[in-house]
């Protein structure tokens, strides 16, 4: 709702501990929540502060624990350890029907024996509101989701997109403090989904209710959220605004999961990073390091070298490479190029015809963002150390995800083809 509140909440997540009740602007406070199903650890030590009026997206692959976290907030699951607080009251000990939290289910979960109107009015009628009030609020809620014409229909008689709106109205009509949305758009076709993303975001601004939205679709998360909490194997990988999480990914996993990237294994010595024959200045300490360089950060160099003053402000790194592959995507296209030393990079440029032969490319040193090698769950080997132990320490890689044994899904919702698989196929030929 207020931008100021959102900004203040942005950086609180890592500082949270299970000490005192949360500070004034945090509405929901998740404190060291862990969840096991028998021996299966689903969530470990999740701490997160959610501000009032915020649109927070919990993003993760299937099996990352995002739905479990949402179900803990709704009250359908109990955390194995840790606490959840809302408005300075303990939430996780309350049954779901006492929480001022409502859920929009992935399958909508409309009551089939009730009309649309009865579905939307269910919560109010349970709360024993006067009939006149129920009628008025239901018709307002239906108007808000543009479904007034279907008030008397049964849910089975309306389309999936319409059922989705009813599920939303049924939750919002109760004026919850927090609205939980469990992949509500995943059953809709692509066009309707995009439309609903915009509508949902607008609706959230209008009602000012905190939305906690669960999805596996990184694009959806980027479009709608104030902040994204990226979950990986039951742990929070990074919590930040979409812009920040994209431009300054903290880990190699984040860099690869949100958008696409070239991961560069480099050796840093005296403020210079070196990966194969590429070198660029950096501020991080000496030693081995991983850098994320977005494909769109690399561009085809202008024929004339840039003006001297400009070069000082943004040191640009030039290199020559040969075009290996070119995939057309409409407005942009993806290039795979091979540098002189055999290093392969993915580059996104505006679509145009390219000359044959070696080309000159450049990127700004600041766009090579140092990232932490993603720590893996206890059940998987540490791939970062495995990588650095191998001779091939300088190649573009995505092996931190490759060695994860389970459930890495190629993001079919992406418009770009450069999934981690694509990057993986890029190998250093001169090794």
């Amino acid at each position: 709702m207020q931008a100021a509140k959102k900004n203040m909440a942005t950086k609180t997540e890592s500082a949270t501990t299970q000490t005192s009740p949360s500070t004034s602007n945090s509405l929901v406070s998740i404190r060291s929540v862990a969840k096991n199903f028998g021996k299966n650890i689903v969530l470990r030590d999740i701490s997160l502060e959610i501000a009032e009026g915020e649109f927070l997206t919990i993003l993760g692959e299937s099996g990352s624990g995002k739905t479990t976290l949402l179900r803990i907030l709704a009250g359908f699951e109990h955390p194995t350890s840790g606490e959840v607080w809302m408005s300075n009251e303990r939430l996780d000990t309350q049954p779901p029907y006492r929480r001022r939290v409502n859920t929009v289910f992935q399958s909508y979960a409309l009551f089939p024996h009730m009309t649309v109107e009865q579905n939307v009015g269910y919560g109010l009628s349970i709360a024993k509101r006067p009939a006149a009030e129920i009628e008025q609020r239901v018709s307002e809620a239906l108007a808000k989701v543009k479904m007034s014409a279907y008030a008397k229909s049964k849910p089975s008689k309306i389309s999936g997109g319409q059922q989705q709106r009813i599920a939303l109205a049924r939750a919002l009509v109760n004026r919850p403090q927090v609205l939980l949305l469990d992949e509500p758009l995943s059953a809709l076709d692509a066009n309707l989904r995009r439309e609903m993303q915009v509508e949902l975001k607008a609706l959230q601004r209008e009602v000012g209710i905190t939305f906690i939205f669960v999805t596996h679709d990184q694009e959806e998360a980027m479009v709608m959220s104030d902040r994204i909490a990226l979950l990986r194997s039951g742990e929070l990988e990074q919590v930040a605004s979409p812009r920040e999480i994209y431009s300054r990914p903290a880990t190699s996993y984040t860099a690869q999961f949100i958008g696409h990237t070239n991961l560069l294994h480099a050796d840093v010595l005296n403020g210079t990073a070196m990966c194969d024959r590429l070198t660029w200045p950096t501020t991080i300490a000496d030693g081995e390091a991983l850098f994320s360089l977005r494909p769109e950060s690399i561009r085809i160099a202008r024929i004339a070298p840039p003006a001297i003053g400009q070069q000082k402000a943004e040191p640009s790194i030039r290199f020559r490479a040969t075009l290996r592959d070119q995939v057309f995507h409409g407005a942009t296209e993806l290039l795979r190029v091979e540098c002189a030393g055999g290093l392969l990079l993915t580059i996104r440029t505006a679509s145009r015809d390219l000359p044959k032969g070696p080309l000159e490319f450049e990127f700004n040193a600041a766009d090579a963002v140092p990232v932490r090698a993603t720590r893996l769950g206890s059940n998987a080997p540490d791939s970062a150390s495995k990588d650095s132990a191998s001779k091939d320490s300088s190649s573009v890689n995505s092996s931190s995800t490759d060695s994860k044994p389970k459930d890495f899904k190629v993001q079919d919702s992406n418009t770009e083809v450069a999934s981690p698989k694509f990057i993986k196929s890029v190998k250093k030929e001169s090794a």
């Binding site: 029907y97 939290v101 859920t103 289910f105 409309l110 009551f111 089939p112 024996h113 269910y122």
Partner: protein, 282 residues
Amino acid sequence: MFSRAYRTVITVPPLLWVAIFLLVPYALMFCYSFWSVNDAGTILHSWTMTNYHELLTKPVYWQTLLRSMWIAARVMFFSMLLGFLLAYFLSFHAGARKDLYYQLVIIPLWVSYLVRAYAWKTILGTDGVLNTLLQYVHVTKHPLDFLLYSPFAVVLTLTHIYTPFTFLPIYASLEHIPRHLVEASHDLGATPAQTFWRVILPLSIPGLLAGATFAFVLSLGDFLAPLLLGGPSGIMISNIVVSLFGAAYNWPLGAAISLCMLALVLALIFFSERLEKKWSFQ
């Protein structure tokens, strides 16, 4: 799509079966119900309404029919109650033991009906298990004689026998209720009790109707339980039909009563199916 020979082989035997063992006997019964029998015991093949007239005017027939319906209604009520509780427990609270309990409910169906009816006879009799126990713990001084050879015994036995029949459709309909509907109800503020009355019960109505129909129709036509355990006061309409076709040798009247019962049962099934359709949302 399929060859003519194949279709013939597949369709003719079942049709023959239905015709010979169902349609022809019903047609014969229909004819018999309009014929009559003279004092010499000869069937007179001339059309008459006397059987139906007798059925409606002689109290013994319509009163027994009413009593049978009353017994069937009680059996229906108790077996629904038990069946629903059992099915609800299994479906919502049995957890990992669900399959085991389900088998335990089904197993009695494999035991012969007669064995189960006789078992009740040994339990309820004057020197039966129950009376001996009651006297042993000094609840009563003399054996309770209403236990056996009474409508009570018939209702008890039929309830025992038909509860699995009501359990099955109720259990199926409870299992078909998507669990996220229950969660959605809780999420919208409904307590478990409110959720039961407003979501679970309405959605299990098709199963309840099917179970009720089973219990009522099966007990209405039962003649073994009243024969073994009913005594004179527990006689049901089927016992009368049996005796009319047997010792009394009045096939026409027996046929007329049978047809009335058939009509009653068909009407019941028809209405319960219409109601089930109205309440099913799959």
